[in-house]
Amino acid sequence: MTYLLSRAEGASHAAGGVASVRDGHGSLAMLFRERHAELVRLAALVVGDRVAAEDVVQDVFARLCARDPLHDPDQALAYVRAAVLNECRSLLRRQAIGRRLGLTRDLGLADTARESAESEAILAEDRRQVLAALATLSARRREVLVLRYWLGLPETQIAAVLGIRPGTVKSTAARGLAALARKLKEES
């Protein structure tokens, strides 16, 4: 097993020189160091499973490390966020179709059970209801709502991350909120 990057160490001296092979990935290393936790949280809020979220982010960074360096550091964060959300979507599709075909049971069984006590303590019932309602929305609506209400991104940035028009972001957010309100039985 090769540890390429750790959040605490950063890329410069990770794994005895592995980073030097990846000099062209300096911005990627910095991105990992600074945004790893945020990206895992983003994925966790979309897929609802911390272990799966870590896997998603690991996969995305592993793929990016194996490819050419990111050409535009200014756009790197948006690019990686988009890649993480794409991977989340793929995971949810696999889960959904797997469940439909009886092939897949669920992800994060053991980890979820282990974490449940901690989560129980942290998440009040009201928050749990909101998150449960959020989990029933389509992946696209969930992504828009998480990007808007957790990351606080403006519509233009959400549009750039998701590769859709700002108008679509607006309508998707409005419909997502309305659906959420219906499920929570309140006015949106």
Partner: protein
């Protein structure tokens, strides 16, 4: 900010803070940690024990590309319209077979928004059925409708006996209509049992899932018969893959897979591997256990992967989607749609075959669907990878060729005509 927005912002922030940055794992490169239901060690598993029962004895012969099979029957004209629902966009729509143009939307929630997947079937008399969620209802119901000559939907209504399907904890996964539409068979799996404990930030799921069950509904009287799936041990649940009617609706055939020792293609669910089989059920019996049915076929060692098997309306032959050949990336490299005589177990014809349909960079072929029209004459084939996240293909089979149907990339939640 509205009350909903405030609650959402608060819940998301709290849930995000619950993930402590210091507990995250560093990035590794040489070992992929993805927890996917990889089809592990299929070749080794394939060498283990397989049973060949009845019809399967003859199915064991090498098949792909061998000569001496009958020519395909003259193609019947395909239905003018088909219903499809892709895995991403929804809702389900009616499309022209010739042009792909959308002519109508089916008034059910899209699978992306609903608690489960919409499942469709059609009868020979042109009636379509859908198990899904309409309006704001949280209850899965069975609806019927017709598609007019202009591709519009008419007569959309709940079928007698079609309310409260699955009791909210089970979701329809397969469905078939008898030729005259007077009977519908629906297979259910415990989707709701896992949905309600989806692991979404906290709730553990049951470790052992129950097997699927099948309900036959008389669409005139609403009378139901139920057959319960069986477990042959821990985690050895039975999953129904498809259903078909034979003998003018007097016999029901189901095809599915059991997680069992000696099975081929181990999955995360089926750690031992899967054993696929088809059995018949007598609708007049009123129900019972699925394994009480007569065994028609079971996979064999040299014919290990039967993805789908559908009985013809007259009960004379099975049409199968099979994978054969060298295993590449965990899967046999060839795909074939073949028809086999029930009476003699002989291969009657190869409807379609595709060599090298997968490749090293492709994920698990999933789903692999073979769907007849209401008359059992024309066939829809849908092949995708990792649940529609990579390019696959779908279309209808005509003279050993696949005629693409939109969306043509296999990313379908449902398709029927």
């Amino acid at each position: 900010m509205t009350r909903t927005e405030e609650r959402l912002t608060d819940a998301l922030g709290t849930a995000a803070r619950a993930i402590d940055a210091d507990t995250l794992h560093p990035l590794h490169l040489s070992e992929r940690r993805r927890r996917r239901r990889a089809l592990a060690a299929p070749v080794a598993a394939a060498a283990s024990v397989f049973l060949v029962v009845g019809l399967a004895a003859a199915l064991a012969a090498p098949r792909l590309g061998r000569g001496g099979t009958a020519s395909p029957a003259p193609p019947a004209a395909p239905d003018r319209y088909y219903v499809e629902e892709d895995t991403d966009q929804g809702p389900a729509v009616v499309r022209s077979t010739a042009t792909g143009r959308v002519t109508a939307a089916v008034p059910v929630q899209s699978s992306a928004d609903a608690p489960g997947w919409d499942v469709f079937a059609s009868a020979a008399n042109g009636v379509f059925f859908v198990a899904g969620w309409a309006g704001r209802s949280a209850e899965e119901k069975l609806f019927s409708f017709r598609v007019t000559a202009a591709g519009q939907i008419s007569g959309f209504s709940v079928v007698p006996g079609g309310a409260a399907l699955g009791g909210g904890r089970w979701s329809a996964v397969a469905m078939a209509a008898s030729p005259d539409g007077s009977q519908i068979a629906v297979a259910f799996d415990p989707t709701g049992l896992t949905e309600s404990c989806s692991g979404y930030l906290g709730r553990p799921c049951p470790r052992t899932l129950p097997s699927d069950y099948i309900v036959a509904v008389n669409t005139v009287t609403g009378k139901k018969s139920m057959w319960q799936g069986w477990h042959s041990g821990q985690d050895n649940q039975f999953n129904v893959d498809n259903l078909s009617w034979a003998d003018d609706g007097h016999e029901l055939v189901f095809f599915g897979e059991q997680c069992a020792p000696g099975g081929w293609l181990a999955t995360e669910d089926c750690g031992h591997g899967r054993v696929a089989e088809a059995r018949t059920l007598d609708p007049a019996s009123g129900g019972g256990r699925l394994d009480s049915g007569r065994l028609l076929l079971r996979q064999s060692a040299s014919y290990p992967y039967i993805a789908q098997a559908v009985m013809s309306p007259d009960g004379s032959m099975l049409t199968e989607l099979v994978l054969t050949g060298k295993v590449i990336n965990g899967f046999p490299e060839n795909l074939s749609v073949e028809q086999v005589s029930v009476a003699t177990a002989k291969l009657l014809r190869v409807l379609y075959q595709r060599r090298g349909y997968t490749s090293a960079d492709m994920d698990i072929p999933d789903p692999l669907l073979l769907l007849p029209d209401g008359r059992g004459q024309n066939w829809l084939l849908d092949v995708s990878f990792c649940g529609g996240c990579q390019a696959g293909f779908n279309g209808w089979i005509s003279q050993r060729k696949l005629v693409p149907l939109k969306p043509a990339n296999g990313a379908l939640a449902a398709e029927t005509w």
